[in-house]
């Protein structure tokens, strides 16, 4: 179906890219800021810093006390947070429209004048909080470190995606107040950010409000380095075994993929859905339904900009089954798919499920604003939300086959196997 969410695009003299997408169905406005810095920019010895820095953005700025950003917005009915990922950091709040100016004022204060408030006490406190986040989500959860192993296996040492966004405990310990100052001065500034307003606001009022609060910030960010060259697929399989107290064996089969946005990346998404992402996918059909040797299969493509994206297939091995045998059968399916390509029904199913998922993602202002900021900051394409389904519809079975042959052969995989300890001892 044709989508026509309104997109109004302007750049302030200081470089801030502003998108306003009016939607008067709910009396709210989402303010969504993407900053062009993520863990891919981190220096050796300072992994995890972009994310730790994001936490400090809530600990006060020139005119805002520590914790006040959260408290002031929540008291007005704001729902807010921030996240850090390989390619970017985002900050967002959805507020009643009468509080839009307050949200912009608070954002401008921290995005322009954070360093007035940064101190050792705040840094130490948030370092502790981030270390608890790492323990909770990675170190104290079954399979919690799987993706960390996957990144290290798929991307070469020194590559921007070789290390995880959460970083290491040692590097978090090493972070200093001086690092915070240097990082802010280098990466934070209107000329390295995109601000989207989505909701009950006109383009005129939206642009004027952003100008009012962000207009006098200096274009202070350095020009960020461009992305590196496309990595080729792995030439031969990589294998990492992790043994421990996990409930069942789990295989992660990971692949380098073309960067996002390229037609080949979109086609790779089709291939992974057909292999393992649909409930009628080939691996699910064979391993879960017919042979009942796996409990669950998942597959998806993660789009990145710096030299490679990532494809990931996850297989939960059923009790009493041999992980090696199941991996070999999965490889048979990959080979078969690369040889014969998708069926017409498979292409139809991917397209239909992708359409529903995309319309669901756009159903709320919050996620719609985030998708607009994403496409604008990373791909210079503010209207992407309206054209994405057309891009999907343009993918041909031949493209999917070619991408599978080039990127999703057994030789191209890195296998990270989480294995139950007692099986290894036996």
């Amino acid at each position: 179906m044709p989508l026509d969410y309104p997109i109004h695009d302007r750049r302030l003299p200081n470089g801030l890219r502003v998108i306003v997408s009016p939607d008067h169905s709910v009396p709210n406005v989402t303010v969504n800021l993407w900053v062009g810095v993520g863990s891919r920019h981190e220096e050796p010895g300072r992994t995890g810093f972009a994310h730790l820095f994001e936490h400090l953005m809530f600990q006060g700025s020139r005119n805002v006390a520590s914790g006040e950003h959260f408290a002031a917005l929540m008291a007005q009915g704001g729902r807010l947070n921030a996240t850090t990922w390989f390619d970017r950091t985002n900050y967002f709040e959805t507020v009643p429209k009468g509080a839009m100016d307050l949200a912009l004022w608070l954002e401008a204060d921290r995005h322009g004048h954070l360093l007035d408030a940064v101190n050792q006490e705040n840094l130490d406190n948030q370092r502790d909080v981030v270390k608890e986040e790492k323990r909770q989500r990675y170190d104290n959860a079954p399979y919690g470190t799987a993706l960390i192993e996957v990144y290290a296996a798929v991307f070469p040492d020194g590559h921007p995606y070789h290390h995880p966004t959460i970083g290491s405990m040692a590097d978090l310990d090493a972070a200093s107040v001086d690092d915070v100052h240097a990082f802010f001065q280098r990466y934070y500034g209107p000329n390295n950010s995109v601000l989207t307003l989505c909701g009950d606001v006109s383009p005129e009022d939206g642009f004027a409000a952003v100008e009012r609060y962000f207009g006098d910030l200096a274009a202070s960010a350095e020009t960020p380095r461009g992305p590196g060259p496309q990595l080729p697929p792995l030439a031969s399989p990589v294998r990492v075994d992790v043994t421990g107290e996990v409930p069942n064996d789990r295989l992660h089969l990971a692949f380098r993929l073309p960067v996002d946005p390229t037609p080949d990346f979109v086609a790779a998404g089709f291939a992974l859905d057909i292999l393992g992402g649909l409930s009628t996918s080939r691996l699910t059909r064979r391993l879960v339904r017919e042979e009942q040797v796996a409990h669950h299969v998942d597959a998806h493509a993660m789009g990145f900009i710096d030299g490679s994206s990532l494809g990931l297939i996850t297989l939960d091995v059923a009790d009493g089954q041999d992980a090696d045998v199941i991996e070999a059968r999965a490889m048979e399916e990959l080979e078969r798919f690369a040889e014969s390509g998708p069926t017409a029904v498979e292409m139809e199913a991917v397209m239909a499920q992708a359409e529903r998922a995309w319309l669901s993602a756009l159903a709320g202002q919050e996620e719609r604003a985030d998708l607009i900021s994403h496409a604008t900051l990373l791909h210079d394409d503010p209207g992407f939300i309206n054209t994405y389904l057309d891009r999907l519809a343009a993918v041909t079975p031949e493209q999917v086959t070619e991408v599978a042959r080039a990127w999703l052969r057994p030789a191209n995989r890195a296998t990270v196997a989480f294995l139950r300890a007692q099986e290894v001892a036996a």
């Binding site: 914790g67 009915g77 429209k97 104290n140 339904r289 009942q292 499920q353 756009l362 202002q365």
Partner: protein
């Protein structure tokens, strides 16, 4: 920055939408919400089925039955059915709560008719193939092991086992245990479905952009044809009794764990409470609903012990719980528990005008955004229907919330918080067991993971 802090313009009045309501001939109560711009239509079917209807030796059968509904019907094999769903981009599934089987359907509006027909087939004529029953049982057994390995799940399981009287179904996992799940056969599933799943008493909610659609007619043609002549009415819900020795500490020992996971709780109300559910929503927010709430102001922002701990009143159909949950690093377990129990005990002393205002403002002013999508509206409507609440409850509850005073919150918290707590700690017990005994908060028992 030269610009002064801006003033706030007052929020516009808001009300949760009122649906068009129809009673179908087969007993289905149909609620439809036409929401322009919501291109994915969300459907919920809520079939009242109390968990207490499960045979004791087959607990988990309602969950297994619900999960099998879309695994083949009288007309289609499991694979055919899955393909029919995916070719139309239909998201469809079903699960079990404490009081109902709930089927959820999401689909682009133009495929709604086809989707509703598949939904009818799934509810009315599921095939429960033998191989699929075996697979669902094996999957649930593996899931139980996954839950045992997850600290929050493990803490939750031990909490209900300690808090509720062991005769209560609520004291055991909704999805059953390994021994009860392993005993489930195809015949059992067929019998359970026949005895409990039917249109009478069920509620169907449809929400989305209905442009070009006659939704009541589409539902009448599909789910309206669902007939179970001898359907027995669902048993009325009853309160689950608390254990007489619920006020104690259970340590679930996981040697080597780098964090300790807490589940701390006591009784709470359901949404029908005379004191008003709104008061308990505000209490949840003020005590443990945000990084600036009482719990995280100390545990996270002052001490740096945790990534975040949350407190919430959790209503059941009758009665409920008030549970605080989250994790801290192993070394600070004793101090963190001492601080948490102190914060929770001191809720009985009352709340400030500012706390009440912050909580009321957050909950009431976020409502338009929280209920902006078809999915959220359908979910709320299904919850109201199952709870036997009027369809304007969401709105009247917010109106009542606006009137709340510190005295109201003081009364509400003292109606349930007594200073007694069921405390579960999952972690490396050798690191903190003696310290927790010294806190003197009831008998301390150690159980294996």
């Amino acid at each position: 920055m030269t610009t002064a802090r801006p003033d706030i313009a007052p929020a516009e009045p808001w009300a949760f939408p009122i649906p068009r309501e129809t009673l179908l001939d087969n007993g289905i109560r149909l609620l439809t919400y036409d929401i322009p711009g919501q291109y994915v239509v969300s459907v919920r079917v809520a079939v009242p089925t109390p968990l207490t209807a499960e045979p004791r030796q087959l607990e988990g059968i309602a969950t297994i039955m619900a999960r099998l509904l879309d695994e083949g019907t009288a007309r289609h094999t499991p694979e055919e059915f899955a393909e029919l769903l995916e070719r139309k981009g239909i998201g469809l599934g079903a699960g079990m709560t404490e009081s109902a089987v709930i089927a959820e359907l999401d689909v682009a509006a133009r495929h709604l008719g086809d989707a509703l027909d598949l939904l009818r087939q799934m509810l009315a004529e599921p095939a429960f193939p033998e191989a699929e029953v075996r697979r669902a049982v094996a999957t649930r057994k593996a899931e139980i092991e996954q839950e045992r390995a997850s600290a929050p799940h493990r803490a939750g399981r031990e909490f209900v086992a300690t808090f509720y009287d062991s005769a209560e179904r609520a004291s055991r996992p909704t999805g059953g245990r390994v021994d009860t799940v392993a005993a489930i056969t195809r015949d059992d599933v067929v019998a359970f479905h026949a005895a409990h799943i039917g249109p009478r008493g069920s509620t169907v909610v449809v929400a989305g952009d209905f442009t070009g659609l006659d939704v009541p007619a589409l539902v009448e043609e599909t789910l309206g044809a669902w007939s179970v002549p001898d359907q027995a009415p669902a048993a009325a819900p009853v309160r689950a009794r608390r254990a007489v020795d619920a006020a104690r500490v259970v340590a679930v020992d996981r040697p080597g764990s780098v964090q300790s996971e807490f589940a701390i709780g006591w009784s709470g109300p359901d949404r029908h409470t005379d004191l008003g559910w709104a008061a308990y929503q505000v209490l949840s927010f003020v005590i443990g609903g945000s990084p600036t709430a009482r719990v995280d102001a100390v545990l996270r922002e002052d001490k740096g012990y945790t990534y975040g701990i949350r407190s919430a009143f959790r209503p059941r159909r009758v009665g409920g719980t008030f549970v605080t949950s989250g994790s801290v690093r192993t070394e600070v377990t004793v101090d963190a528990l001492r601080l948490l129990l102190d914060i929770l005990d001191r809720t009985r002393e009352g709340f400030t005008v500012e706390e009440v205002r912050d909580g009321v403002d957050f909950i009431s002013k976020t409502a338009p955004g929280r209920y902006a999508t078809a999915d959220a509206v359908a979910g709320e409507a299904a919850t109201l229907a199952l709870d036997g609440l009027p369809l304007d409850f969401t709105t009247t509850n917010l109106q009542r919330m606006a009137e709340l005073t510190p005295e109201d919150l003081h009364a509400a918290v003292n109606a349930v918080v007594t200073g007694e707590w069921t405390v579960v700690v999952v972690g490396d017990a050798t690191a903190w067991l003696d310290g927790i005994r010294d806190l003197d908060r009831g008998e301390v028992t150690v159980v294996p993971n």
